[in-house]
């Protein structure tokens, strides 16, 4: 369970951004969580709810968008959304696949009330 450590880092960024924008309250936080990010949305949610108490985000809602694994074959250029983790092109059998998305763990945006 390393999600708490990720959320602790998220709150560092939230603090910076809310100071920068003079926020009085954070109302929503949007994350993009790749299926190969190594983080579990449910545990991020639990950690967020634990962490947010007594912060500007105490009433904020966390939205996590699960991002599927998408690859592009460097030989036949086929772009595939994968529901397994097999890095072999399902069209031409090549193993030269480039990952387009699915490994990210991003803070996408923050909704806040500002002065």
């Amino acid at each position: 369970m390393h999600e708490l450590s990720i959320i602790a880092n998220l709150f560092k960024i939230l603090e910076e951004k809310s100071a920068e924008k003079n926020a009085v309250q954070i109302t929503a936080v949007y994350l993009k969580v790749g299926v190969l990010s190594g983080a579990v949305p449910e545990l991020l949610q639990t950690s967020f709810d634990m962490y947010k108490k007594d912060t500007l985000a105490s009433r904020a809602v966390l939205h996590t968008e699960r991002v599927p694994l998408k690859t592009e074959c460097e030989d036949c250029q086929a772009v595939t959304t994968k529901d397994d983790f097999i890095f072999i092109c399902s069209r031409c059998g090549s193993s030269r696949l480039k990952t387009l998305s699915g490994t990210e763990l991003l803070l996408e945006k923050i909704d806040m009330d500002v002065e």
Binding site: I6, E108, D111
Partner: protein, 223 residues
């Protein structure tokens, strides 16, 4: 008061990745190959290091950073081999982070060849944290079963090499080495494969040769 939407697009592991990149640049710049060892508890990381030291030391200088939740036990075992070792006890945390490795930086001798970082025994959380390694080495021991790769996608898709340990236990264990390697290969086609037994001292020489070749690569990047 107004409502505002602030677009950020920031990597939540970005601060860790930044420290890791600095560690990697500093170490490889000095000609030191950093290796992150990851596996479940009890798969033989420390034993593999003890054996590897017999193949590398004293021709090559190695040191070990040991990550555990508690105790100095692993570091003591490595020191008993005449190898410098530093223990990081995470006090409960399930993985090492780059900043923990960074704190040990002043202790790392400049004339080192290999810096092994033995991660906390866990195939899940450590996989998300770059520690500044050049080689991510995954261990899978035969008692764990040959069906593990698909269960731990992050670890298996991000590793550079897979070391199957305790091969002397097959048989009697029904572990199918070819099956485990094939499954891992599908997930990570560029993965390098090794099969070792620390008890019989088999396969360790091949792994040592691979690490020496990787060391040469960072020492002579344009060769």
């Amino acid at each position: 008061m107004e409502q505002k939407e602030v677009l950020v697009l920031e990597d939540l592991l970005g601060s860790n990745n930044k420290i890791a990149a600095e560690i990697r640049a500093k170490l490889t710049g000095r000609g030191i190959l950093p290796i992150n060892l990851m596996s479940s508890p009890g798969s033989g990381k420390t034993t593999l290091l003890e054996r590897l030291s017999e193949h590398l030391h004293p021709k090559y200088k190695m040191a070990v950073i040991e990550g555990d939740i508690e105790t100095e036990r692993d570091a003591e075992r490595i020191r008993a081999k005449g190898i410098p070792a530093w223990q990081i006890t995470t006090g409960g945390a399930c993985h090492l982070e780059a900043k923990m490795v960074g704190r040990l930086f002043p202790k790392i001798p400049p004339d080192l060849n290999f810096l092994f970082i033995e991660n906390v025994g866990n195939l899940v959380c450590p996989a998300s944290y770059d520690l500044g390694e050049s080689i991510r080495c995954l261990l899978l021991s035969t008692p764990e079963g040959d069906d593990k790769p698909k269960k731990y996608p992050k670890a298996f898709t991000t590793a550079d090499c897979l070391v199957i340990t305790k091969s002397d236990l097959v048989p009697p264990l029904p572990f199918n080495i070819e099956r485990a390697q094939q499954e891992a290969r599908e997930m990570n086609p560029s993965l390098q494969h090794f099969v070792t037994s620390a008890v019989r001292d088999t396969g360790i020489d091949t792994l040592a040769a691979y690490l020496i070749a990787q060391l040469e690569r960072i020492r002579h990047p344009n060769a």
